[in-house]
Subunit: 200 residues, 4 copies
């Protein structure tokens, strides 16, 4: 029982092993056998579940960007105020990151590996578009500062969150529980004021 339900998880074991290795060493720098070693299997088995090293990365993109985009879309579809929507998105993303910062690092950093990949991963663009639309609606309703360019504001917001995560993943920022609380407080305060309505 355990073994058959476990074996169904082999593919996921490999994916999460790949995420850890990609986050630590980068896609190009790691070898297929690094992924296998991290998962505790032979490198040949990687090819039982994936056609190539490339497909491993592509799968990580596809399976992770999808849910993020959908969640943002759903939040944007509620009747909440723009401020509350942004708070929810920030909370969603930050908590997703607290749970799994390595995945986020890979999603954000390795997307630039190949233009081909970016075009194939429509899920990625969807998430950004949803966030931008949310900000634009907030501006139209006068709840967010209309003087800000929504596109650049989206990227800037995303960058704030990403850079802190990168600092944690690479061990350059302290990541104990209270450090994470302080980071969240700092970043959410910054976000709220950065995007909020202009000074009256």
């Amino acid at each position: 029982m355990a073994s058959s339900s476990r074996s169904a998880g082999r593919r996921d074991d490999l994916l999460s092993a790949a995420v850890r290795v990609f986050a630590r060493k980068g896609y190009h720098t790691c070898r297929v056998s690094d992924i296998a070693d991290e998962a505790g299997v032979s490198h040949g088995l990687v090819y039982h579940y994936f056609a190539s090293k490339d497909e491993v990365l592509e799968t990580i993109f596809r399976e992770n960007w999808g849910p993020i985009g959908e969640a943002i879309l759903q939040i944007g579809g509620t009747d909440d105020s723009a401020a509350e929507q942004l708070r929810k998105v920030a909370s969603l993303v930050l908590h997703a990151w607290r749970r799994d910062p390595e995945t986020v690092r890979v999603l954000v950093r390795e997307i630039s590996r190949s233009p081909v990949l970016q075009e194939r991963i429509g899920e990625f663009q969807t998430a950004f578009d949803a966030l931008e639309a949310m900000i634009e609606r907030g501006q139209e309703r006068g709840e967010l500062d209309a003087a800000l360019d929504p596109r650049f504001a989206t990227y800037a917001m995303w960058g704030m969150l990403d850079e802190v995560l990168t600092g944690w993943v690479l061990g350059r920022l302290p990541g104990a529980d209270d450090d994470v609380d302080r980071a969240e407080a700092t970043v959410t305060a910054m976000l709220r004021r950065a995007l909020g309505p202009g000074v009256a």
Copy 2:
């Protein structure tokens, strides 16, 4: 004389050729002979000036992050208000894209190649430290919100700038002259309010 001043530039010829090739194809995707071809010399000559392909990239990082760190240090040493200092840093970083997009592309895209590399580039850390010191002084003078953790605020600020550059590098954000101006206005406004003194 002309020839001696020209031959003195061979090393720099190779570095700028490497920047162009890295920007076009990426560090991992290009070969040493691509760099040599771009510079119009044999691949062996690369090894006359640099110990390895890695050292070429490391040199590019070192020689470009140095001036950035110095510029931030210098801005932080003026009598300008904290808000003005932050604006100048944002302007410096964002306009680098227009001045030398290929170098920015390499600095942004390849810095995450390997954490090992980042640790070896002291100039990189210097720039971050200078930025953090600037924010701390602003807090001490009551011009910036002392409730924010200066370390995380530094990373968040850097992330805003970096993500916009990344958007340009990857062609996902429009990067013409007026786009850059609008990006600067947006990011500067966000920064001023995100970091500014707390609401009384």
Copy 3:
């Protein structure tokens, strides 16, 4: 079963192929693919079993000097007279040429390739130490001339044997069966008198 015992020999196939190629062309003159060709495999497989070309040579040294040192130790542990022990060592070393001339050729010719290598091969030093201990015990029992410095005597004795092997390896000395017998007789006689008790 046959196949598993055969595949277990791949590493040894490569080692003996390397011995043949090193003996024929010399370590520096041959390429890794020469070894692979001689073994009938691709050159990549060499790196499956050995970390580098250097490690192949190092392994040949280690795995051949080991038995030689053990044999000398064993001879020194018998109740034979010192003269008989010396004769047995000379016979062992000189007959190795007939048994496996290619290995002897490599051991003799390439050992001087680099002092670094010799220091790394502890088995090499072990053989020398065993020989020196044998001579010292002979002196203590009054069977060998105690006036001789045992260290230098060890080197001189080894040199006699090594130079004859070198002569065979380089084709400057005749090496047929009866030549080897004559060499053994000559060297043994020289050794017995050179190291024997001083004239009363």
Copy 4:
């Protein structure tokens, strides 16, 4: 004056630098620039005095084996007893080695590098032949043990001297003045008895 008489010595500076480097690292392991560095000049200058790296080694052989062979020939041509002739040869060689052990190491070890080289260096064979002829005449006159094969005895004698020198060059044998005296005493005593007339 000094400079012109000095500059005539540049070629010899390079040769003796090459001897030191070859002795230390071996011919194949060292680079042309190692020779130049050892001599304190640029590597290009090596090609002003020698046509190739190979020619440097060949020159060392030719210029050093010649005098040795001649000296042995001359000693063999005197009316001295065989024992005295052997003593003189041993003394000549040992003292030559004491003066310049590195040259001897190169002469002996690198001769095996290439069969082509050995055939071209007739001077090398001349020295060995002269030594063998000397031993044969000693046997004919009843002054040396006629039971010994003269060819193998020549090689064995040579090997004794060479191995001690090798120990010194590689730092595996102590080489202070009194060590050298003890080595000479040990080796000459061994030689005298090893080659002397058989026990009556």
